[in-house]
């Protein structure tokens, strides 16, 4: 943990993580997008450990700007409606590191686990992985400037609708 983070900033980062997990665990894509900065360069990447290790750019979800984050909301809530089997998730995270990047920004990493329950089915592990974030404190709350979800599974156990 960084030496410079204040209790208020640390609490804001925890609250951001909680808001992110709560949004996805409710399947609320609008709330998911709301955890990201409104700046045009806000980004979300979901990438396999395999590609990440090989230094290859291909990402399961490649939302390299705010517009694509908003479009992902529409894909899930409008375009794909009725085509996928509904499923619920529970995300669990633990913060691993937090370093100041200056200007009220922090580089934060966390481990994550996602449990998945398909409608009418049992609960199983979807995957685990690591979030690598650039988080900015804006006033009394925090937003993601960049979230990079690097998932552990070499082979995903199913098709994926919701972000990790």
């Amino acid at each position: 943990m960084s030496q410079t983070i204040t209790a208020a900033h640390s609490a804001a980062i925890d609250a951001l993580h909680a808001a992110y997990l709560a949004a996805l665990d409710k399947g609320d894509m609008v709330a998911w997008a709301a955890t990201f900065s409104l700046a045009p360069e806000a980004s979300y990447f979901c990438i396999s450990t395999e590609n990440d290790r090989r230094g290859l750019p291909l990402a399961l979800m490649y939302d390299d700007c705010r517009g694509r984050i908003d479009d992902r909301v529409s894909f899930v809530t409008k375009v794909w409606v009725g085509t996928y089997q509904p499923y619920r998730t529970r995300h669990f995270i633990q913060r691993l590191s937090c370093e100041s990047a200056g200007n009220n920004r922090y580089r934060v990493t966390s481990g994550f686990t996602i449990m998945m329950s398909a409608e009418g089915g049992t609960t199983a592990v979807l995957t685990s992985g690591e979030y690598r974030d650039l988080i900015e404190i804006q006033g009394d709350h925090a937003v993601f400037c960049e979230r990079r979800a690097v998932y552990d599974a070499d082979v995903l156990p199913r098709y994926i609708v919701f972000p990790f």
């Binding site: 590609n51 291909l58 979800m61 375009v79 996928y84 082979v155 199913r158 098709y159």
Partner: protein, 423 residues
């Protein structure tokens, strides 16, 4: 488990009202076992990788043909080899890493060492220890090289075969398919990465899915919403002379569709939605790069490969079987080595069209799984393939299930399913 000869007797026939395939082909272990022997280890060529994945001497990757693990490697002279991933001593899996670079393959169990050409080079304690033990004098290391497959490389695509007698790759593919490979693999490629997804369904449901232009504009809402592919677009369905392989091609703007015709075709379809607008249109912003201006090319190659060009999104997809109700898709996306920065970005922006969360491929996984789940207790019931006139072959449109019939006719031929299958 039934021997897969008798159960076929009646339902597997072509009638004027449709070609029928019994659902047990998707669920029965006996069919699965026969497929491994007669298709994946039989008279076919299977895709195992791209030579761009193995640029250096000593590079290897492990993959599978059907469910048989194989190693693909480049030896010290630059030659590519494909071996069964099986130690010649007592059968251990020789390579456990998915990729790497080595000087030799050393089995972890008793340290037998094989060079990159597959020759056995080292057997610890071969002459015994302190004059005791050691291998029998009759043991000749030359007889224990790795099981090598036949290998052919076409424009950087590596194919392998267990068969000594299968026709050369170019003949196996046929001119039209070779032409598409030459069209897409026309210069050195740059690999962007892999997607891997496990599907809880039978691999043949994906073989059907990728030979099925009928579902393209109906299941995939993204296509019809954004016009990447609509049934009213100009397209054609090509099959090679053997009807094993299939090439579906649609052109973006050769015949502009009218809004009113689109509305008529899709009037009963939930997927037609012209009201949707993107905040960031980059996913659709491409650059024409092929002379034929095709916006969509889906080329299924029997038994385990698909080559796709969707706008500027280029990929190969390899199917790996695990069980009657499980297979895996490996997508490898690529561009060209000489792509400028803008083109690399275009391909990255379009890469999310496909893959396990792909805007136009997520639903294929779901479609396969809901069929698998539903047919499991109805083995003697059949599907019906009738769209386009109950026959395989090339046609100058895409409103057909003919390529799927071509797949099943060849499937029956490979599994030697007998006269009861004849029309």
């Amino acid at each position: 488990m039934n021997a897969p000869m008798t159960p076929f007797a009646k339902p597997w026939v072509a009638n004027p009202d449709g070609y029928r395939v019994p659902y047990e082909v998707f669920t029965d272990q006996a069919y699965y076992d026969q497929e491994q022997e007669h298709i994946f280890r039989g008279e076919t060529w299977s895709f195992v990788g791209l030579d761009a994945e193995l640029p250096n001497k000593g590079d290897f990757k492990s993959t599978a043909i059907g469910d048989t693990p194989v190693i693909v490697t480049r030896d010290q002279t630059g030659q590519l080899h494909v071996f069964k991933n099986l130690c010649m001593h007592r059968g251990a899996l020789l390579v456990r890493e998915s990729r790497g670079n080595v000087k030799s393959f050393d089995c972890v169990y008793h340290q037998w060492s094989f060079d990159l050409t597959g020759a056995l080079r080292g057997v610890p304690m071969r002459r015994g220890v302190r004059g005791e033990g050691g291998m029998s004098p009759a043991f000749d290391m030359a007889n224990f090289g790795l099981d090598a497959l036949r290998v052919e490389v076409m424009n950087g695509l590596i194919f392998a075969s267990f068969s000594k007698s299968v026709e050369p790759l170019a003949d196996y593919l046929g001119e039209g398919i070779v032409a598409n490979i030459q069209r897409i693999f026309n210069r050195p490629i740059r690999i962007m990465g892999d997607y891997r997804q496990y599907i809880h369904g039978n691999w043949k449901l994906y073989a059907e899915n990728t030979r099925d232009p009928y579902h393209g504009s109906l299941l995939h809402l993204f296509h019809s919403t954004f016009g990447l592919y609509r049934a009213t677009q100009k397209g054609f369905t090509y099959m090679d002379p053997s009807n094993r392989h299939c090439l579906l091609k649609a052109t973006a703007s050769a015949a502009p569709t009218s809004a009113s015709e689109d509305q008529e075709v899709y009037k009963d379809v939930r997927s037609y939605n012209t009201e949707f607008h993107l905040q960031d249109a980059s996913v659709l912003a491409g650059r024409p790069e092929f002379e034929d201006r095709a916006s969509l090319v889906i080329n299924a190659i029997f038994p385990n490969l698909l080559i796709q060009q969707i706008a500027n999104c280029l990929a190969v997809r390899q199917s790996i079987t695990h069980a009657p109700n499980a297979f895996e898709i490996v997508w490898t996306l690529f561009g060209y080595a000489d792509d400028d920065e803008e083109m690399q970005m275009i391909r990255m922006k379009q890469s999310n069209l496909v893959g396990p969360a792909g805007l136009i491929s997520m639903e294929d996984g779901e479609a396969i799984e809901i069929v698998q789940d539903a047919v499991i207790r109805d083995g003697k019931k059949t599907s019906v393939l009738a769209m386009g006139g109950v026959h395989a072959g090339s046609v100058d449109h895409m409103i057909t299930e003919g390529p799927i019939i071509g797949f099943w006719e060849n499937y029956a031929r490979y599994l030697k399913l007998g006269d009861e299958l004849k029309k």
